[in-house]
């Protein structure tokens, strides 16, 4: 068994893009973990006071226009009376909407992981449940569930999410609900397909002949054999999920401005479109973070799929 895992690891990392993907992912994980160190969540006017909610970005400037990046060297510790604190006294990525972009990018990493993982896990679980029931029991149960799935699939993801956020209200949690409600169909179909194939296999018939209860058959025999493609598909969905969530925040339907979310951070740029060339940092830094994050998940998803199920290629 160890031989098998070693072989898997070797194949996983054979690809340079896989290595890049995993490295980026690890990088982001580290950023997320060390967020409080990288961007101290303290009151900008009274640095000894901790922020009640670090996800609500502290206001660091009352100026209207965005301010370009400044480094430690630009600050005079003498005048300040203390050592310059990143995000409070100097701003490596600049300021927009009165908020530090570096702070937003760093804590936005946590938000991205949070949103991505919660939505993926829950929607996949829902999908697995529905798909398993549909695939295992077949007949009219299957027909009905599949028609329902079809209907849900008939509304474009973004549009559906928009409609739902309109109803539920603005906010990142509402966005997550919307993404979950309209995100389970892929897993459902996938696992149903796999189950349909596995259902007729010998060992399932054997278990049935022994009188094992249906639920056990599903969980103990069928699922372990069909779960891998679902996991892979889920990891590949992470990327597009984060993009959609950010898009909604960008439009103003998700995380409110001032929340530590990449999409919300980018929405500030909409106010400054005319001279956006001067304020490039407001787009480039959060944008790069987003692209790299999604890229990491896509590369990891690709690598996993190459190793575990080349049939899914493309």
């Amino acid at each position: 068994m160890r031989q098998e895992t070693k072989r898997i690891f070797r194949r996983l990392f054979r690809n340079p893009s896989a290595i890049l993907g995993f490295s980026l992912l690890i990088f982001f994980i580290l950023v997320a973990i060390f967020a409080p160190l990288l961007a101290p969540p303290v009151n900008s006017f009274n640095p000894s006071m901790k922020l009640p909610d670090p996800y609500i970005m502290p206001v660091v400037s009352w100026k209207q226009e965005p301010i370009p990046p400044t480094t430690k060297k630009d600050v005079d510790p003498q005048k300040l009376g203390r050592e310059p604190i990143r995000c409070i006294d100097y701003h490596p990525f600049g300021i927009i909407g009165g908020r530090d972009i570096f702070y937003g990018v760093v804590w936005g990493t946590r938000t991205a992981f949070k949103v991505g993982m919660i939505v993926t896990v829950i929607s996949t679980l829902i999908g697995i449940t529905i798909g398993s029931i549909s695939g295992y029991f077949g007949g009219w149960v299957d027909e009905v569930l599949m028609r329902i799935t079809d209907v849900f699939l008939s509304i474009p993801f973004l549009v559906a999410a928009i409609v739902l956020t309109t109803i539920l209200g603005v906010g990142l949690d509402k966005v997550m609900i919307a993404l979950i409600v309209f995100g389970w169909m892929g897993s459902a179909r996938l696992i149903r397909g796999n189950i349909l194939q596995v259902k007729e296999e010998q060992f399932v018939l054997a278990a049935k002949a022994l009188g094992v209860r249906d639920v056990f058959i599903i969980t103990k025999h069928i699922l372990p054999n069909t779960i891998f493609p679902v996991v892979i598909q889920a990891s590949m969905r992470m990327g597009s999920l984060v993009i959609t969530a950010a898009a909604l925040s960008f439009l103003g339907l998700g995380a409110p401005q001032g929340y530590a979310d990449w999409g919300a951070l980018l929405s500030y740029a909409r106010d400054w479109m005319l001279e956006i060339g001067e304020h490039w940092y407001a787009i480039v830094y959060p944008g790069t973070a987003m692209v790299l994050f999604v890229l990491a998940w896509n590369l990891v998803g690709d690598a996993l799929r190459d190793v575990f199920d080349p049939r899914l290629k493309g």
Partner: protein, 360 residues
């Protein structure tokens, strides 16, 4: 019903017709289901909020409890859902979608006015997606594992990872703010005036085509200039996706026996790839490609907002921001219909292209 068709179709060309009939019969069912979902979602809001769809919010703020109750009665908001749904559905089938806050006109008119802009954008965007995606996909497959393949694939993965709104912002940043080549919006002011004047005949309501038909090349170029940025942005995500599908499909086909037969006949490699392999590879690509084209429509929501253009997309986004429920419901219905119809067309297309399915 489905079982009936499955057991009763008569092989041969009956297979295709039975298939089409089955899909056509499911169509209204699905649309029905979609409308039900959308409608039920809206009902979560409750009668108080829904009142905003019928009455001016200013009046609502000042109204008394009794007045509010009376209004709710008037618009039937206290009736059971079935009643309200049937009433709504009947109106919808008549073409009455309610009043649009965003457009300050009936929703139907608001949509009809804005639709051509979105159609124009989506249609133009199809070309770079299809051309670039398929061309690069074939190229990558043919040069499998060589430098060109890796380069193209990396390019594609990055493309696939780029959120469209970030790309759009970057496009505006570089090409508008810095270079001033591609401005946002539909048209420059002077062109706008020309288009609105009575001499300008709107045959198709598509700006570029109309400009040409009216013989105004300057308006045409102006409209095109305003379209390039949005087209680039809209197609950005999707050509990468199409590329992946094309590449893997092509790789599969290149492994097939008949490719070897073609070579054994002495055909030059170019013919083997372009005539024999590609046709087969494109079959699954059409299904996916079609689904993707439909998604282009959904993508217009973001792109039109970023580039400040008129169209269904920005209409939907604005409606969401302003809580214009009537408009949102209509938009959602619209997009879903496009999706469902589009899928049907693609499935039929697929069946016609692949002679194995067409001729049973």
């Amino acid at each position: 019903m489905v079982e009936f068709l499955q057991t009763h179709d008569s092989g041969g060309d009956g297979l295709l017709t039975a298939y089409i009939i089955r899909r056509l019969l499911l169509l209204p069912l699905i649309l029905f289901g979609v409308s039900l979902i959308i409608f039920s979602m809206m009902q979560v809001l409750g009668p108080d909020k829904l009142l905003a769809a019928y009455v001016n919010p200013n009046i609502l703020d000042k109204a008394t409890e009794e007045a509010l109750e009376a209004l709710k009665e008037k618009y039937g908001l206290n009736d059971p859902m079935i009643v309200r749904y049937t009433k709504w559905l009947r109106n919808v089938l008549k073409g009455d979608f309610g009043w649009s806050l965003v457009g300050k006109e009936p929703v139907k008119d608001a949509i009809l006015e804005r639709l051509p802009y979105t159609v124009e954008l989506a249609l133009y965007a199809i070309f770079p997606v299809v051309v670039v995606g398929i061309w690069l996909g074939v190229l990558a497959a043919v040069n499998r594992d060589r430098f060109l393949d890796h380069f193209i694939r990396i390019f594609a993965v990055v493309g696939w990872s780029f959120p469209d709104f970030v790309f759009g912002l970057l496009v505006l940043m570089i090409f508008y703010s810095m270079l001033n080549w591609l401005p946002p919006g539909n048209l420059s002011n002077w062109a706008e005036e020309i288009v609105r004047s009575p001499e300008f005949h709107r045959y198709t309501h598509l700006l570029t085509i109309d400009a040409l038909l009216n013989g105004r090349l300057d308006v045409f170029w102006d409209a095109l200039r305003h379209l390039i940025g949005p087209i680039m942005t809209l197609s950005w995500l999707w050509w990468a996706y199409l590329l992946r599908i094309t590449r893997s499909s092509m790789l599969e086909v290149l492994n097939k026996e008949f490719v070897r037969t073609a070579r054994a006949k002495g055909l030059p490699e170019k013919v083997v790839i372009n005539k024999h392999a590609r046709r087969n590879a494109l079959i699954p690509v059409t299904t996916v490609g079609g689904a993707m084209v439909i998604n282009l429509f959904a993508g217009t929501v973001i792109v039109e907002m970023v580039f400040n253009r008129t169209g269904m997309g920005s209409f939907t986004a604005s409606a969401a921001l302003q809580l214009d429920y009537a408009s949102i419901m209509a938009s959602a219905l619209f997009y879903s219909t496009i999706l469902v119809l589009g899928n049907l067309i693609i499935d039929v297309l697929y069946a016609t292209i692949d002679p194995r399915i067409r001729l049973g």
